[in-house]
Symmetry: D2
Subunit: 337 residues, 4 copies
Amino acid sequence: MIIVMKPNAKKESIQNIIEIIEGKGLTAHISNGKEVTIIGVVGDKSKLQDQNLEIADDVDKIVPVTESYKLANKKFHPEPSVIKVGNTSIGGDEFIIMSGPCAVESREQLLETARAIKKAGAQILRGGAYKPRTSPYAFQGLEEEGLKFMKEAREETGLAVVCEVTSLAAIEAAVKYVDMLQIGARNMQNFYLLKEAGKTGLPVLLKRGLSATIDEWLNASEYIIAEGNPNVVLCERGIRTFETATRNTLDISAVPVIKEKSHLPIIVDPSHATGVRKYVKPLAKCAVAVGADGLMIEAHPNPAIALSDGPQSLTFPQLNELCSELRPLAELMGKKF
Amino acid sequence: MIIVMKPNAKKESIQNIIEIIEGKGLTAHISNGKEVTIIGVVGDKSKLQDQNLEIADDVDKIVPVTESYKLANKKFHPEPSVIKVGNTSIGGDEFIIMSGPCAVESREQLLETARAIKKAGAQILRGGAYKPRTSPYAFQGLEEEGLKFMKEAREETGLAVVCEVTSLAAIEAAVKYVDMLQIGARNMQNFYLLKEAGKTGLPVLLKRGLSATIDEWLNASEYIIAEGNPNVVLCERGIRTFETATRNTLDISAVPVIKEKSHLPIIVDPSHATGVRKYVKPLAKCAVAVGADGLMIEAHPNPAIALSDGPQSLTFPQLNELCSELRPLAELMGKKF
Amino acid sequence: MIIVMKPNAKKESIQNIIEIIEGKGLTAHISNGKEVTIIGVVGDKSKLQDQNLEIADDVDKIVPVTESYKLANKKFHPEPSVIKVGNTSIGGDEFIIMSGPCAVESREQLLETARAIKKAGAQILRGGAYKPRTSPYAFQGLEEEGLKFMKEAREETGLAVVCEVTSLAAIEAAVKYVDMLQIGARNMQNFYLLKEAGKTGLPVLLKRGLSATIDEWLNASEYIIAEGNPNVVLCERGIRTFETATRNTLDISAVPVIKEKSHLPIIVDPSHATGVRKYVKPLAKCAVAVGADGLMIEAHPNPAIALSDGPQSLTFPQLNELCSELRPLAELMGKKF
Amino acid sequence: MIIVMKPNAKKESIQNIIEIIEGKGLTAHISNGKEVTIIGVVGDKSKLQDQNLEIADDVDKIVPVTESYKLANKKFHPEPSVIKVGNTSIGGDEFIIMSGPCAVESREQLLETARAIKKAGAQILRGGAYKPRTSPYAFQGLEEEGLKFMKEAREETGLAVVCEVTSLAAIEAAVKYVDMLQIGARNMQNFYLLKEAGKTGLPVLLKRGLSATIDEWLNASEYIIAEGNPNVVLCERGIRTFETATRNTLDISAVPVIKEKSHLPIIVDPSHATGVRKYVKPLAKCAVAVGADGLMIEAHPNPAIALSDGPQSLTFPQLNELCSELRPLAELMGKKF
């Protein structure tokens, strides 16, 4: 932590800062520059947490030098994490496809989809039983009934299953049926939900918030890990920008940035990132080539009548075709699929 | 709802769309332009909710012509709403100041603040008992104990009190102590929480999400109103943009836009919008002049040691000074204060 | 300038940085923290301009501590600048209204507008003779003929006149006819144009780029001032964000931020910021209350048939009404108008 | 073009719109919906260019149904364009690498680079002789002398050469020495420069503006093509968003979106998009996999002392390694390289 003083800061202002720092048992390191004085803090900066130095006299700005997340930080955990989900693992040698409908609509729809995605090569079935929708008048999900269908699909196919949770009640229901919990983009900073998901010990798929920086995203993962649950997988799904040609802007650079800053695995969701089916294939390929650990791809028996996100869902033949094109690419990147 | 076909769309593709529309008991209105054919849908478009026409053959795009929110929409409710909160009202003739600390830290801190803001002219006391913080290692709030202090402050001063809620448990506790619930920016699309807040019947202060469009914000308010609770007050608190000179970018245009699109009152929070104390005064003034119904201003007995958001909090003398400068401005705008 | 090393940086890496710094005749100030080593550079950091220290071994990041603009910086020029334009001045006691059509369309249109805005109280006539338009098929301006009409309007009314310039040829023409040059948002980082405008010595109205940070904007003004021309007036006109309810998002906080960082005057353009006529009045008021030095307001004899930006232009009666509502507000803010 | 009326629009308001449309020789197509009336315009909508219908009484909004760019539009030119540049072509079967230093610094630096990039497999040499820099105190380029070195490098190696132009003077110089002109991101809406570049007939590399939508970018290309010069190549180089982990956010979706909307080739510049050398390789790979026609990669004999953009430049061994990893990927995508 560095405190940059204003040009011509008064001696007393500098002395005041030094006293606050030393009063907390830390060391102040003074550097008198040509224009400004800089004060470095040596020691555990969390001791200064209740001191708002930026409003002290003659302070120009405070510059943090270390990240506020520790458990998710690669600096203190250099080996990449491999997260076990059902019979498969994310972050290891295998390239993972999660697929399934946006919303679980019926037993038949889900079982049919589970069989189709397994055939295409996917390892994990996704399906929403609790749907966060922009409008209260849109379909809101089958809730626990939907979870039961997911469990049945898992038992029949052996696929691992993941479902989004949106409340403590949903978490309490989901732990009985699924292998992995998903925290959606709109709840990425619902810290209460993050803690509750952490407490379950189940692996958590943490989607990036629409306007979350990568640092905020890793801080959100820290909430889960701090509950003693290191099983977090990140999912880049597009951020909000001024561009409207796609529903969101896929921030593909997030993949190498996360690989640089964190040991957690990261997958990419091109379906939600674009909202447009015809862009799913090229973006899925680019996610493999950039080094992602997997993909989340929406698929539906009949996208034209899907109750949620039909326009971005693939048909089963389209999913099959996509997977066969991804296979040689994944191999070229050194991944099994 | 308008369906724009691609240039040279096949006759069968157009016929297919017409059949889907008519199959739902609606009327299709065809307009053959020079370059493209446009199909207007006459009737209740919600009947087409389970039809994803954008992926039908030869469809270029779908253009909605009406908003998806109805209860919050000024078109169907032209009179401005006035929301009663404790002994005061928001959206009427009076200009409202909500003030108080970011976080309730102790009984003394809160009572001292309540007396000071009342003296300055504020009508509503704010204070956070459940704090959503970016890092899990930051202060998380006093929870129910904090709510008790709020109630005590209300009883002593007669101020109305508002507190942020972040979970169903927090709502269940808060209804026993406060006059108004606040849904914070990070939970604006926590639809589960919106519904639960709606069910309480208490007035709800709904902050705009960091990257929420005005349409999404009004749709979020619709979730609350649809539970039979029309007592929603909106709060603009800055949106996320590329600019970093302020913590967020105060979207001051949101005030006249909301006044145009909705009947709900709207207040402005310059403290969170900028994160910088010295910018609070000019932005508070501009909020009065633009026609806002009130302000939320953070104040603290000693901002230098506030446990949360100290750098943007006013001291009590600063709050006093601000209020006396706002008074003639509010009067010029036709508001009592 | 501070160099933050990675945790566990090798001794040789630290030594290497020190040698580069000392090799340029500067002093390296080492601070060994608990987790990381920080190296402060004491002396003229521009000597390190051709050294890309961020890619040296074990460097985590470089943190600048001083701004790259000097001439526009309030730190080195604390008194606010007052810029003379024709018979009036911007940045002093007077609140300035620049008004006129987006595009000069004809002699009659311009003269009629000049008379009307003068009557309403405006001091400066604006009008575009060279129009940057998104589509090449839209009206591109009358060029030098338009400038002649501006000069005629100036002579008849005594108003100062300002015109946007988009090329060296336009500058060479404009200097013969107008009192102030405008650099538009799309050319804010057309550094060639900035230098050429600087060389003329005429006052320059520098609009903020659609996605320019405040720092980049002040650096752009530095290009003009560095040519020996200190007569720069800034104009906030909205930035690009995800919100589409207004054409751009007026960053009203830019006014107090500029007042904090620079001595240059700043005006606000609510017409371009919103693109919607009905929002011009509330945003004009808010610009006065936030402390701006003036406003740019588009007005047209008949907005319904304006060749450019009609939807955001005021009629003359609307301009009159606006000015009479702004007057008491400006007085309350301590400005003459 | 569709005009959406407000609910309860008066008959006279609707009649007024119809008369304006018919007065221009166009046909108005009325559709009376349940809530609102919609008026479609049949015929050449450019005839309504001087009518600002959005401010007519009772008009809610205007919805365009066709794009304003025609020459760049795939709808009217379905075959992909292949643009010849020197001895090579962009947009055909070959995957193109443009490489070289950000700024031409000396004859030796440029010739050494030209030889190295040729050996690595690049087909086009880039180098800046006119540098747009945020600060006026940064290196501004060698100007015409730099162009001479580019020509010499072309003659020695046979590589095609491309150089950014920032003014008419720069264009007039560049046409004597280079095979392709580059319009940089900051000048993407410098419409004057676009027209002048168009007039030369040379191929133009048009970088996307930092905050330009894809529609604005294609409209900018239309300015060049409308001068009779169809030889435009687009370059995605990152857009400005709230994320700061990378200098800009690479909008990789722009590649499939451009392939859907336009016939122009598109390349990707991961160096400028991220500003960080270690992210260049993964993003280069992802650009190949997403279907781009080529890459622009900055390379320098000694990035540590590059006068511009050193931190994002590759060394020659790094460029070699990158190219050998790209080769099998390009082949998998059906491109020769």
